[in-house]
Symmetry: C2
Subunit: 298 residues, 2 copies
């Protein structure tokens, strides 16, 4: 491996000067800077990040912990983050928590081992944030994405679930619907963003003077397939809803499959408004003749 020492020798300057020229800090004369840079490229010198991190205490790495990188919401966010970070000279380290707090904890721990300078996390459990509080207390900048954690006072970027849900429901109420079901995926733990949507569903119905009960709520416990079952379960009930609000894009996906398999047509047999927007939503509209999957949210 060629080190900064080799470059210094080749350029005929001291190690410190070579480091200054290559690291672009401190003062160097133009002459020696050019000499160093030429020597470096002649020797195919490559900076050693580990050494730099160890010596400087900062890695220029930012960690991103997502629930599921396959979820288009997160992969889009990852791409945006990576691009933005790159502009500022940072590299993004992406870790998957699989919507599991334990794995999330491990991911945060691993990222901290690698000395990330900051952490962006989509927390899986709004009630379990000790590891995040810990990181924040240690002086690591922590930003929450899409979800929050109770009692954790850090910056967070979330969509307005209450407003989005209210808009969706008011649209359906405006069409005359009175039995409006909700499909929501509680993945075993309280996800802050979903609690907000469920609460807004209740609040909006109550404010409109429309009665609701638990038979209009269907939860799922995993991606895809369960949204399918949750929808079927809802539609099989004694007094099925005339409209459905799906609170996540996985719920939407499952609901559309179920609606298709039941041979139902929208909006003739059922109306649907979904939170989030998948780029293929437009095709789902063909399940019926008109607008399914209204676009709501960020």
């Amino acid at each position: 491996m060629v080190t900064i020492r080799d470059v210094a020798r080749e350029a005929g300057v001291s190690q410190a000067t070579a480091a200054r020229a290559l690291g672009a800090y401190g003062y160097t004369s133009d002459a020696s800077r050019v000499a160093v840079i030429e020597a470096a490229s002649r020797l195919h010198y490559r900076l050693n990040g580990a050494a730099r991190t160890l010596a400087s205490g900062s890695s220029n790495l930012v960690g991103f912990v997502v629930g599921d990188i396959e979820n288009s919401f997160f992969s889009t966010a990852a791409r945006g983050l990576a691009d933005a970070m790159e502009e500022f000279g940072y590299t993004l380290l992406i870790a998957n928590s699989d919507e599991d707090v334990e794995r999330e904890r491990r991911a945060v721990s691993t990222l901290r081992e690698y000395g990330v300078d900051g952490l962006v996390v989509a927390p899986t459990d709004s009630s379990k944030g000790a590891h995040l509080a810990d990181a924040a207390k240690a002086g690591l900048p922590v930003v929450l994405l899409d979800r929050t954690v109770r009692g954790l006072q850090v910056d967070s970027v979330v969509s307005d679930g209450a407003v989005g849900t209210r808009m969706a429901l008011e649209h359906l109420l405006g069409q005359g619907h009175r039995r409006i079901g909700i499909i929501i995926d509680f993945i075993g733990v309280p996800l802050s963003s979903l609690g907000v949507r469920l609460k807004a569903w209740k609040d909006t119905l109550r404010d409109a003077g429309v009665s609701y009960d638990d038979s209009l709520i269907s939860t799922m416990s995993g991606p895809m397939q369960d949204g399918y079952e949750a929808t079927n379960e809802l539609l099989d009930r004694r007094y099925p809803p005339t409209a459905i609000f799906t609170a996540t894009n996985f719920a939407t996906d499952g609901a559309l499959r179920a609606i298709r398999d039941r041979g139902m047509s929208m909006p003739r047999d059922l109306s649907l408004v979904a939170f989030d927007d998948n780029d293929w939503s437009v095709f789902a509209a063909h399940l019926g003749r008109s607008a399914a999957g209204a676009r709501i949210g960020p």
Copy 2:
């Protein structure tokens, strides 16, 4: 920051013993190992990855350079890779090349700076692999994903584009189609996987004794929107095809949009077979009454 030295002092052993106990290498008596581990957890000790990488020469980091993490093909691969890596104690560093060789080069360079122990790359340009050959020559394990690079002898994982394309075309030929168009996205540079599919399209038609010409080929140069235009262009030609083969999932997406906007129905007005499989393909089938988007490929 609490270091291994602090742990050693707390446990009443030497630094070397503490390191052996924590790093799980070399010999330690059970007694001192337990003492060290307890001291470590009492002090909230966290390993310093940069120091370990610098001293040991290996980072337990693996780099993954993808064309576009938003593309579901890559996000699925990323998730699988990350999960598999984690099992072996490795962490995945994901970088986006944006299908740009220059950015790919930078990404590889950055990853090497951080001392990755291996590199998985979906190369953007099958004719520009100097940076990859370089890494391989430096002893870094390099694996190519989805695409290959001319002259680069490294392991690679690709789908069989020739066989998949042939299957798609033979299906259409079997249905009686004789004018079969192809939509393919050449993103400015030769992508090995696409060259294979285009060649297979030609070969299969020729072998079947069906004539073809460039008016049946439509290329796009970016995601989404261009597949839409490419399809319209193809269908606007003097003798439009009766069937279309889309060679990538972006092409498929654009084609479906175009078909919908033209008010065409499948398979009445047009047949379509697509390479790759998007998880929403099933909804697109509703553009017509029957099978669009046959599933081909890995």
